[in-house]
């Protein structure tokens, strides 16, 4: 690809110039601070090469918050452009790039890492394990995700962002209609991050099956662990489809094959099909852990065991099967046969049954409970009605015949924001606030947290509720502007106000993190809320020691920690310690991932020699890893005694 220098670095747009300057200044500031405070070794040893599931979880969550900011800015730019008819804030090309990156970032680089971060931190604690089954792989998962994320994010300053929507439908995304590096960024960045997700899937699936503590049978696991198990199962079966589909489109774009093209024997519709074979299960990958988080929070703050635990398990297993049977509802209008559309219409409606069961179970869990209205509980309470609105409109969309009207309108846009925000985003906030004392040793300020909560949910409804009506009024999605005569001005303006309210709430949330870091009282016990039910609260100190449990807890039933408290047992105070085997840090994952990123960056610009050199580099790191005979170390009894004594002070 012949690129001039001024095409390589994007120039001529004041918004992008501003971003370039702030990224440059930000990077300089970070490097300078790390050097000034002599923190490079600390960063490398304690964080970047750490295989501790807790630290990896925190790094996932930090990345996700960063991406929530980036994706949120994209969202605000979209809403600013649409606030009034004929706005010239973004030109159509820039608008296309912004909504494409908004979608990809929010789903793949915000929702997924946020949930995987919470899973990383909490699930090993909940099953009473000291780490995951494959700690090395866990670090590699994080770094492949991180490099994929970084590669995707630099696209807007170097070379240009993808602009074919987050779905990247062919033929629009083929070389013929999307020349330039943008779409290559999409393919390669998601490919690398997808490898990481697949490894996470395998890792946690094995962890939950094989590393549960004594006495914890499958039907005694916490609901969050259950939803994680099923999510990982869906990841294992869905992500290979994405990997293959992305690889095929990459062949089309880089090597001139004709799989999804209009020329030759290409079939563009096959991409749409394969994308959603992955894409629909993906929706459940980001919603099931959210269901798990809400189950934990609701049962904790209602002070009751989760209602109908078995029905919950059955419904998530049913969802996992059904999630693979509904993908066609994303393209009812593509010209499928009536039989196909009817079949997938029915399976889609069927999925609302297990989901409805879960909603009722949450309500019954709260029924006659003594509810504490803490911030995480407020997010969980707000989830139920908002998610039901999203779900009911989903059933409307599931009717294939009616979908011909709703398809590609703001009705759909509003529907999926209602399910994804009130489901996944609310769960991320709720889960982060709920487990915050576990991660950082202090709670977030409740008062500021409630302000953020109220502004966010009001803003959320102000932003997205009008969009249902915009959709029914015929406003198509992905248009960069409209005219006064369309009659969409008022509702669009209201919607934009709501979007900025959500932005404000996010800022308040960030302020709360800083404020609480300075002023919140430090937790003294492992059970910060005083109401903990599962094993993550059974640790000896508020932030678990790096080996999690000095003595692995034994479980006899559901809500094991609640049981222990009722019976007055503290298993962690047992003095008969034994040395604990723990895994070593690993440096190859970050090196391997960075090489992957460099190779992919070369391929984005068709610089094949970089790709080849990078490919060799990846193999060298793999070979280096296979000769790595390091099998961990033992934490001595003295060290455990010292740590536990400090914790029990």
């Amino acid at each position: 690809m012949d690129l001039k220098w001024n095409e390589f670095i994007i120039t001529g747009d004041p918004l992008i110039l501003g971003a370039q300057i702030s990224i440059l200044l930000g990077s300089i500031a970070v490097v300078a601070a790390l050097t000034y405070f002599k923190k490079w070794t600390w960063l490398w040893k304690e964080w970047l090469t750490s295989v501790d599931h807790k630290k990896l979880g925190i790094m996932y969550i930090l990345s996700a918050l960063l991406m929530l900011f980036r994706g949120g800015i994209d969202g605000l730019m979209i809403r600013t452009q649409l606030a009034k008819p004929g706005m010239e804030f973004l030109d159509p090309q820039h608008y296309n790039e912004v909504f494409s990156t908004h979608g990809v970032i929010m789903i793949l680089f915000m929702a997924m890492p946020f949930l995987i971060g919470l899973i990383n931190y909490i699930v090993p604690l909940q099953i009473g394990a000291r780490d995951v089954a494959f700690p090395y792989l866990n670090n590699l998962s994080f770094w492949t995700f991180f490099v994929g994320m970084a590669l995707f994010n630099i696209s807007f300053i170097i070379g240009g962002s993808p602009d074919a929507g987050w779905t990247a439908y062919t033929p629009l995304a083929t070389n013929e209609f999307s020349p330039g590096p943008g779409q290559n960024y999409y393919l390669l960045a998601i490919q690398i991050a997808g490898i990481g997700t697949l490894m996470t899937g395998i890792n946690f699936f094995v962890t939950i099956l094989k590393m549960r503590t004594k006495g914890m049978t499958l039907m005694k696991m916490s609901m969050f662990t259950w939803t994680t198990l099923i999510t990982m199962l869906i990841i294992i079966f869905a992500f290979p489809v994405l990997t293959v589909a992305l690889a095929l489109q990459t062949f089309d774009r880089l090597f001139g094959s004709v799989i999804f093209t209009l020329q030759g024997d290409g079939n563009p519709m096959l991409w749409v099909n394969l994308f959603w074979v992955w894409g629909h299960p993906e929706v459940y990958i980001v919603i099931l852990p959210a269901f798990g988080i809400f189950s934990e929070i609701i049962s904790t703050f209602a002070r009751k065991q989760l209602f109908a635990y078995k029905a919950m398990v059955v419904s998530i297993v049913t969802i996992s099967v059904l999630s693979f049977l509904v993908w066609v509802h994303h393209f009812f209008t593509m010209g499928n046969s009536a039989e196909a559309n009817s079949f997938f219409s029915i399976t889609t409606m069927a999925i609302s049954i297990p989901t409805g069961v879960k909603i009722f179970n949450w309500l019954f869990t709260m029924y006659r409970g003594r509810i504490s209205f803490t911030t995480p509980m407020l997010w969980a309470l707000a989830f139920i009605p908002n998610f039901v609105i999203g779900g009911v409109t989903g059933v409307m969309l599931a009717m294939a015949a009616a979908d011909y009207q709703y398809h590609n309108t703001y009705f759909l846009v509003s529907h999926f924001h209602y399910v994804l925000i009130s489901g996944t985003v609310f769960a991320c906030f709720a889960g982060l606030i709920y487990w915050y004392p576990k991660m950082f040793g202090h709670k977030l300020n409740e008062k500021i947290g409630k302000w953020a909560f109220w502004i966010f949910i009001i803003g959320f409804n102000v932003c997205f509720f009008p969009q249902y009506f915009l959709g029914l009024d015929g406003m198509p999605r992905r248009i960069s502007t409209y005219t006064e005569a369309d009659g969409w001005t008022g509702l669009n303006f209201i919607s934009t106000i709501g979007a900025f309210m959500m932005g404000l709430a996010f800022l308040i949330f960030v302020v709360n993190i800083v404020y609480s870091w300075r002023f919140s009282p430090r937790e003294k016990t492992g059970d910060a809320w005083g109401l903990g039910r599962n094993l993550e609260w059974a640790t000896s100190s508020s932030i678990p020691p790096h080996y999690n449990f000095a003595v692995l807890p034994e479980v006899t039933g559901l809500d094991p920690y609640w049981d222990m408290k009722e019976k007055g047992l503290d298993q962690q105070k047992n003095v008969d310690y034994k040395p604990i085997h723990m895994p070593n840090n690993a440096a190859t994952p970050i090196i391997m991932s960075v090489i992957m990123g460099a190779a992919a960056f070369g391929l984005v610009f068709h610089w094949y020699w970089i790709g080849i050199v990078g490919g060799i580099g990846i193999f060298i790191t793999m070979i280096a890893r296979s000769f790595d005979y390091n099998d961990g170390y033992y934490v001595s009894v003295e060290e455990i005694k010292e740590t536990e004594a400090k914790a029990n002070k």
């Binding site: 079966f237 519709m269 099909n273 099967v321 993908w327 010209g335 499928n336």
Partner: protein
């Protein structure tokens, strides 16, 4: 090593599995060589035999159903098989019916 051989029993399971495998291979071979059915019919027959043989090998030789995790492994394999069939059959159905059929 299966439990049977550990106890010193004759490995009947392996012998039976081996014989059935050979029989399936021979039948598939014969179908391809000595019948004059259409090639798509032959493909389907060979495919069915192949799937049966793969399942046979997993159960008879590779201890899929044995051990404490036998049920889990079998369940996951069946689930994976189910998903694979859904994806392939579903995709084939969509790509060969409706308007797509006309455009191809």
């Amino acid at each position: 090593m299966s439990q049977q051989t550990k106890k010193g029993h004759f490995p009947w399971k392996h012998i039976i599995g081996f014989l059935i495998s050979i029989a399936l291979t021979l039948v598939a071979f014969a179908t391809a060589l000595w019948t004059d059915w259409s090639s798509s019919t032959i493909f389907i027959i060979i495919l069915i035999f192949a799937v049966i043989q793969a399942a046979l090998q997993l159960v008879m030789f590779m201890h899929m159903t044995e051990g404490e995790d036998g049920g889990l492994i079998s369940g996951n394999t069946l689930f994976g098989f189910f998903i694979a069939v859904v994806i392939i059959v579903g995709t084939y159905w969509l790509m060969t019916s409706g308007h797509m059929h006309m455009s191809m």
